[in-house]
């Protein structure tokens, strides 16, 4: 016990006084930086997870898409989903011509589209 106390005392003596005076001086600057980044990334991950599992419920896979202006090119919208339709539906018009469409895997969700 005595030896331990002496060792601790020696250690304290050996340390430079500045080490004890400066509150922030005990970390290397790059370490501070890494800690800041790590904390930030953890926060982002938490935010992402919260967003994914709690807030995404009502939106499901859909992207809210608004087209203002070009009314004539409005895509087919199933009933009850005004203003929120699968982004893939907006994209399956072929790039070559306005009247051609590409076969793209249909969005599979709870929305039932009845062909008219």
């Amino acid at each position: 016990m005595q030896a331990l106390q002496v060792a601790a005392l020696c250690l304290l003596m050996a340390l430079e006084p500045v080490n004890c005076q400066q509150a922030r001086g005990n970390l290397q600057p790059w370490m501070q930086g890494l800690i800041a980044v790590a904390v930030f990334l953890v926060l982002v991950a938490i935010a992402f997870a919260v967003n994914k599992y709690w807030c995404q419920e009502k939106e499901e896979n859909m992207e809210s898409v608004v087209t203002i202006g070009d009314k004539k090119e409005e895509a087919v919208v199933s009933n009850g989903t005004e203003g929120r339709y699968s982004i893939t539906a907006a994209d399956f018009r072929s790039k070559e011509t306005q009247h051609a469409y590409e076969n793209i895997v249909e969005y599979e969700g709870k929305v039932i589209t009845t062909p008219m």
Partner: protein, 651 residues
């Protein structure tokens, strides 16, 4: 025709010894007169046809932010107080993301071009716009014109050894020639080019500076020993110089400083500054206009990220060279005896403002030095000219025209020019204040003025976007109340003077003791309470007026009933557009040769005014490609991570 920028630089280069390199690089400058494309329509002029891809957006965001005030101010405060002033820049890069992600989508769907126009659509009514015009004139004079003139004059003073007022007058004369002969025409592109020439020069200078001081480690080893040689008061009976006035601060290498005793306390730097930055970056016409020119929302966001990365640079390009300047020239830059300072730079409170010009003049190789000074002054003059122009239009159109609606165009023209003269006079009269304010630290001065006047504006814009319930009376009385509170601090502070380390100000502690950024937080919160309180006591604005004007309704597809008169581009708003157009006779061309000659002289040779075209009314959509949107989001996170690493590193 030789462009004015070229002319100015030729003259200066002559004074700073011509080198072949300069002659090779000078043709860069006359770009000024070449980029005159696509300005014949409002949309074309303002928004570059809404066709800019991400990198010009980001570059011009950065370029319109960085001015010679930054070189003088950041380096000067860096020399005096150490690294912390870079926090001003490193805070802004988060706010730029706020702009791209939260503010610009709403401005885009609202289909507005100017910020007053947005407020008018959002709240209706006219008085908010008049208020904003008056306040922006104030801010122009006190934070832009006088600061620009002062920092340009410091450069000239250091380069040519002139008195600061002679330098200002020379600057003004050259600027007048510059504007009268039509140098005003193209700003956005050439400003960007000039800024990047300056940044390139700054990189070179940084290299020389670090070389001179013995590398990065040399800066950190020697800064704390950078003391002036004469520190004894020549008149001990009158005053003594305490050691804290000339020793570098012990916390010079820290960004985050003590919340009570620090010169830039960390809560103020993080929270208070965010408020000022929100005003500067998210509700200021100059900045937002750059974003609205973007091709799509994704491009705007990417531009904001680029600007954020560029904003990391000033720490290394300006603040650290400023500190090096103190190490290399402690007697000049860190002077403390008032008589010495007066001899060195013309003011008694300290000469840290000369840190950067001093480096340019003494360290740069002769050729680059002339180029750097020339480009910097040319950029400064073009920005001065555009401020003169837009503020004179602001005054004639928004204020004078309302006082005297029957005023004819010739009268408006003359009033506009007289107003410019008045502003110049006020600004020159204000320069001694700029010189001495905040212990002679330019950047602190700018930020403190902004802290007293801008928080109510930031609060109103913030609430306008994110709270549907806020209405016109709330916004207006919030702005007025905030202004009164701000003036209650601003006026005593400048009446008593901010004092210096040796002669502290006599201002009572209760009024001036609070750090200006803390005051910004208080003012912001008070304005928010006032706006929300008054809004809750008055009837709300129905949703039909708000579609696509507030954040929560940005995706709404409903028809909006516009409360602005007409369909949005009535006569009044036509007048509003001219605020930012190159000057032309405000209403039609004057007839007759004398009139035309007058118009040519007075209207600064601008093109005739164009009628606003209805095409701008096409509403842009804010859809984003999911992949690219994800890429941009990830990039934003990467940028924030890098920024936070640097914050942590220099904390």
């Amino acid at each position: 025709r030789i462009s004015e920028a070229g002319w100015v630089s030729l003259e200066l280069v002559e004074k700073c010894s011509i080198q072949p390199l300069e002659n090779a690089l000078l043709p860069l400058l006359p770009l000024q007169s070449m980029c005159r494309t696509n300005r014949s329509t409002i949309g074309g002029y303002f928004l570059a046809g809404r066709n800019m891809v991400w990198w010009p957006v980001g570059a011009s965001l950065f370029a319109s932010n960085i001015g010679s005030g930054h070189f003088v101010g950041l380096a000067g405060t860096g020399a005096a107080n150490g690294l912390a002033v870079a926090g001003f820049e490193w805070n802004a890069l988060f706010v730029v993301l706020l702009l791209g992600w939260l503010f610009v989508p709403v401005y885009l769907t609202a289909g507005v071009i100017t910020m007053p126009q947005y407020l008018k659509k959002r709240f209706g009514g006219r008085r908010i716009r008049i208020y904003l015009s008056v306040l922006s004139l104030f801010l122009y004079i006190f934070t832009k014109i006088s600061v620009d003139m002062f920092s340009g004059a410091v450069f000239i003073q250091q380069a040519l050894g002139w008195d600061i007022y002679i330098a200002v007058i020379a600057l003004l004369i050259i600027t007048t020639i510059y504007t009268v002969t039509g140098g005003l025409a193209a700003l956005m592109y050439t400003d960007t080019v000039q800024t990047f020439v300056i940044i390139g020069g700054a990189f070179v200078l940084m290299g020389f500076a670090f070389h001179e001081v013995g590398g990065y480690q040399g800066l950190f080893d020697k800064y704390l020993e950078a003391l002036p040689s004469s520190t004894l008061s020549p008149a001990p009976a009158l005053y003594n110089i305490s050691a804290t006035c000339y020793q570098p601060r012990p916390d010079a290498f820290h960004l985050l400083r003590d919340p009570l005793t620090g010169d830039l306390p960390w809560p103020a730097l993080i929270f208070g500054l965010t408020i000022i930055s929100t005003w500067y970056w998210c509700s200021d016409q100059v900045i937002v206009q750059r974003c609205l020119a973007g091709k799509s929302l994704t491009h705007v966001k990417a531009g904001c990220i680029l600007c954020g990365y560029l904003k990391l640079l000033p720490m290394f390009l300006m603040v650290m060279p400023g500190m090096i300047s103190r190490i290399l020239y402690p007697d000049e830059v860190a002077c403390v005896v008032p008589e010495d300072c007066k001899r060195i730079c013309g003011t008694e409170v300290g000469c840290s403002n000369i840190a950067y010009p001093k480096l340019v003049v003494t360290l740069m190789p002769a050729g680059l030095r002339g180029l750097m000074l020339a480009v910097m002054l040319a950029a400064l003059m073009s920005s001065l000219a555009s401020i003169f122009n837009s503020s004179s239009t602001l005054f004639t159109m928004d204020i004078y025209n309302r006082l005297r609606p029957q005023a004819r165009s010739k009268e408006l023209l003359i009033v506009g020019r007289v107003w410019i003269l008045c502003m110049v006079a006020i600004s020159i009269a204000w320069i001694p204040v700029v010189q001495a304010a905040q212990s002679g630290q330019l950047f602190d001065y700018i930020q403190s003025i902004a802290s007293y006047l801008a928080p109510p504006i930031a609060a109103v814009f913030f609430l306008a976007l994110f709270f549907k319930r806020v209405n016109e009376p709330g916004a207006f009385w919030g702005l007025i109340g905030g202004l009164l509170m701000g003036l209650a601090r601003l006026l005593p502070e400048f009446a008593y003077g901010t004092g210096s380390c040796i002669f502290p100000s006599a201002c009572p502690r209760l009024i001036c003791g609070v750090h200006y950024l803390y005051f910004a937080i208080i003012l912001f919160l008070a304005s928010v309470v006032l706006v929300v309180g008054v809004s809750l006591c008055t009837p709300p604005i129905p949703d039909k007026h708000l579609h696509r004007l507030v954040f929560s309704l940005r995706h709404s597809k409903e028809e909006r009933v516009d409360r602005a008169a007409g369909t949005g581009l009535g006569a009044r708003q036509g007048a509003l557009f001219t605020l930012f157009l190159p000057p032309g006779p405000p209403a039609g061309q004057p007839q007759g040769s004398v009139g035309r000659c007058m118009a040519w002289l007075c209207s600064l040779g601008g093109a005739p005014q164009r009628a606003p075209e209805p095409g701008v009314e096409r509403l842009p959509d804010i859809t984003e490609h999911p992949t690219w949107s994800r890429v941009v989001n990830l990039n934003a996170i990467a940028m924030m991570a890098l920024a936070l690493f640097l914050w942590g590193y220099y904390a």
